[in-house]
């Protein structure tokens, strides 16, 4: 089929499917399967009860053994690499061209070694497992499932594009009435996104275990003061 015919037929087919109501079966969300490679852009919005919303847009690349997240505004990012049974995490500071590397044992100590499936799908399988599936179907040509429920005083509303194993929306309402929302803005097949991860291959990398020996390194002093966390990870949601 040449491309001009395909370009004409695909919207027509979509229109027919929508008009008739898409009765195709919706794939199950199987958080055991390896998710397909994708690139995506999200927006995280935080609405405190007292007002004063803030939002951040961030990018996400997922391949079989490598996950990258990037916050262009903050010029920071996270790289996760799975190598055999080991997991490596690098927190990237693009403006400084430096990174902090966390090895498997560091992550264990920090209790910051998430399941690969959670990292790569941005979904917590344990959480999905306890929420109730409220609806499923097809939207804009892709299958989705929506899960809702409350866990430990937090109300969740999560919609997942099941073919790509990627959330299109995560809403979290805390007991403090703060609402955090993660929305999928755009998604692409891997390698087809208009933006690519910043190349960090020649960055000056510092081991997390060596932070304590860099007490006078201005970069280390600054990021500890800024990031605050015992592990300086970015959070998608």
């Amino acid at each position: 089929m040449n491309s001009s015919i395909r370009n004409a037929l695909v919207p027509l087919l979509m229109l027919v499917l929508v008009a008739c109501g898409d009765r195709r079966p919706v794939p199950q969300l199987d958080l055991v399967q390896s998710p397909p490679p994708v690139a995506a852009e999200f927006r995280t919005t935080v609405e405190p009860a007292q007002g004063g919303n803030s939002s951040t847009e961030w990018r996400f690349w997922r391949s079989h053994d490598r996950i990258e997240r990037e916050n262009p505004a903050a010029q920071s990012g996270d790289l996760w690499v799975r190598d055999g049974k080991m997991l490596f995490h690098t927190r990237l500071y693009h403006a400084d061209r430096r990174g902090i590397e966390y090895h498997n044992d560091d992550l264990q100590i920090l209790n910051a070694a998430p399941e690969w499936i959670a990292l790569s799908t941005l979904l917590d399988p344990g959480l999905i497992g306890v929420l109730r599936e409220r609806e499923n179907g097809w939207r804009d040509g892709y299958p989705y499932r929506r899960y809702t429920g409350a866990v430990e005083d937090v109300v969740w509303d999560i919609t997942v594009r099941t073919d790509w194993m990627l959330p299109t929306r995560i809403e979290r309402r805390g007991a403090d009435r703060q609402v955090e929302t993660v929305e999928l803005l755009r998604s692409f097949e891997f390698g087809r996104s208009p933006w690519q991860p910043v190349d960090s291959a020649d960055y000056d990398m510092l081991d997390y275990a060596d932070l304590g020996d860099h007490e006078r390194d201005p970069f280390v002093m600054r990021i500890q003061a800024e990031a605050g966390g015992g592990h300086m990870h970015g959070h998608a949601h």
Binding site: D65, R66, V81, D83, G84, K85, M86, F88, E101, H103, N104, D105, D106, Q108, I109, L110, N111, D176, A201, D202, D204, M205, D207, Y208, A209, D210, L211, G212, D213, H214, E215, R216, V220, I223, Q224, A227, G228, G229, G230, M232
Partner: protein, 541 residues
């Protein structure tokens, strides 16, 4: 057991050790593990220990040492040794407070003042330089004196300010030499033996080039070599016989994939493959996993390089999970001594328990203590393989950490647990509570990440999931540990002051334990650089 028979056991055990010139002050036979249970027994045990010391001091080992082994527990302050001793005993089902680690049975002991030339509380570079070169120097300095600037790029200036190390002097005499560590072999403490550089961070050439940037070196200056290159290019004597630790990428070009983790590349930007260069030397072998390490033919191998991880070697608690397998510190020590002992002129060996420090920085007492116990096992192996008559063994730390042992827990209370009151009935002792009505752990840090997220809020370990909770807004209260299993290996002990990236070193004195020829010179309160002079005197250098 009847009182008299208990006294008899303690006294017999103490007398057993009186025969050796370097008899331990604390009896180490199995029967001596019987803890006194009465005033009379404590009195007898105390008197027996002093009797043992009296005899030791009457027969000073004034011989010249053939071999010297320096063990450095990085960050192994006195509180770490005490807590490790107790944990080791409790893990083996004996009285932890009565237990002694292998090196605590050495004949001589002193305190070491760890302040460096420009620091009240020091980092590992000047403290390790003090121990192996006999001088005090500035922060970050690797066997160069305090007149050098932190980033001196000029090799000629660096050479002029370099200080000769015990390893170099041993090589000049024709002795064999080795360095073993659980950190990167290019890390500060091992590096001071064989390298001279103003900045401890210059472990591979890329960091020198990055710091140098567009700066043009003065006329007459060539660029200083990185630490890894200095190890492989080491020209004194016939070069190091043994170098075992971690840090493969610092030796390999940035075009070469790591053999254990192929997604990772080398760090070198000068194209040099230092592991291949090492292996190409006559009689040299390079290994990077446990199977290769075990298969080393000591009859054919004269120079052994082992790099078992891209960065630091695994914590002892995590070693079993390594992808390719890696030897323990005790196994590396054993193999090293087997190789070094082939030289009739003797050997010098430094062994570092390098990750005690890292676990403390992370605020995780469990791994700091289990790595201390692993180093004590390595000391035991070293002593078993050598003769007290001709081998001086020194065990010390480069600096301390802020770990404290607090409250009034009962004898036998789990050292990783919550402090108890000792006031209970029927063997159940209620936990102690603080002024807020909350329980607290025996071990804690003055500063560090434990319990803090860095913005005034805290995290708590959820005992059901063994995961940390989301941030809990700061309420002015400590975490409630009532339902928290603080003996979990991943538990981070609370810190009073949030330095959330890393807990810090501390500046109090550390202990020096010594056994063998000239060990009697280790006494009193010594400046840390005196350790070098004890070792040099023992070797007759």
């Amino acid at each position: 057991m009847q009182l008299n028979s208990r006294i008899s056991l303690v006294v017999t055990a103490s007398l057993t050790v009186l025969g050796g010139a370097s008899a331990p002050a604390h009896a180490d036979s199995a029967s001596a593990m019987t803890v006194p249970t009465s005033g009379a027994e404590w009195f007898s045990a105390g008197r027996a220990a002093i009797e043992a010391n009296r005899l030791v001091n009457r027969e000073l080992n004034t011989r010249r040492a053939r071999n010297v082994i320096l063990f450095v527990g990085d960050g192994m302050g006195v509180s770490t040794v005490t807590a490790a001793r107790i944990l080791d005993g409790q893990q083996r089902g004996i009285d932890g407070e009565w237990n002694r680690l292998s090196f605590e049975k050495f004949s001589d002991l002193a305190l070491s003042v760890t302040a460096s030339a420009n620091q009240q509380t020091s980092d590992s570079a000047p403290t390790a330089t003090a121990m192996v070169a006999g001088i005090k120097t500035n922060d970050g300095a690797i066997s160069v004196d305090q007149s050098i600037t932190r980033k001196e790029f000029c090799a000629e200036v660096t050479r002029a300010k370099s200080v000769r190390t015990l390893l170099e002097r041993a090589e000049e005499r024709g002795m064999s030499t080795g360095v073993v560590t659980t950190a990167r072999i290019t890390h500060a403490t091992p590096a001071v033996n064989y390298a001279h550089v103003s900045n401890r961070d210059w472990e591979a050439n890329n960091t020198i080039d990055s710091d140098l940037g567009a700066t043009v070196l003065p006329v007459g200056c060539t660029k200083v070599k990185d630490i890894a290159a200095q190890l492989v290019d080491f020209k004194v004597g016939n070069g190091l016989e043994v170098a075992l630790g971690g840090g493969r990428p610092y030796f390999e070009p940035n075009t070469k994939a790591d053999p254990e983790y192929p997604t990772r590349l080398g760090r070198r930007t000068d194209g040099r493959d230092l592991t291949a260069e090492w292996a190409a030397k006559p009689g040299a072998a390079y290994v990077w996993n446990k199977a290769q390490f075990d298969a080393v033919d000591l009859n054919r191998t004269r120079h052994l390089l082992g790099l078992f991880e891209p960065s630091h070697v695994k914590y002892e608690a995590d070693r079993a999970n390594d992808t390719a397998g890696e030897p323990s510190l005790a196994e590396m020590t054993r193999k090293s001594i087997q190789l070094l002992k082939k030289n009739p002129k003797g050997f010098y060996l430094m062994v570092e328990g390098g990750r005690i420090d890292h676990a403390h920085h992370a605020g995780n007492a469990y791994r700091a203590l289990t790595d201390t116990i692993a180093m004590a096992e390595a000391v035991k192996v070293a002593r078993e393989m050598t003769d007290d008559e001709d081998t001086l063994i020194i065990v010390t730390a480069d600096h301390s950490h802020t770990l404290s042992i607090a409250g009034y827990p009962s004898r036998g209370n789990p050292i990783l647990g919550k402090a108890d009151t000792g006031l209970g009935l029927l063997g159940v002792s209620p936990v102690a509570i603080d002024s807020l009505g909350l329980p607290y752990t025996t071990l804690g840090y003055l500063n560090g990440p434990g319990g803090w997220t860095g913005n005034g809020s805290r995290r708590e370990l959820n005992p059901a999931t063994e995961l940390y909770t989301a941030e809990i807004p700061f309420t002015g209260k400590r975490p409630d540990l009532t339902n928290v299993d603080t003996t979990n290996p991943n538990y981070l002990q609370e810190s009073a002051i949030p330095t959330v990236g890393a807990e810090t070193h501390s500046g109090e004195d550390v202990a020096i334990y010594a056994n063998g020829p000239k060990s009697y010179l280790v006494r009193g309160t010594l400046e840390q650089n005196a350790i070098y002079h004890v070792m040099a005197r023992a070797l007759g250098l």
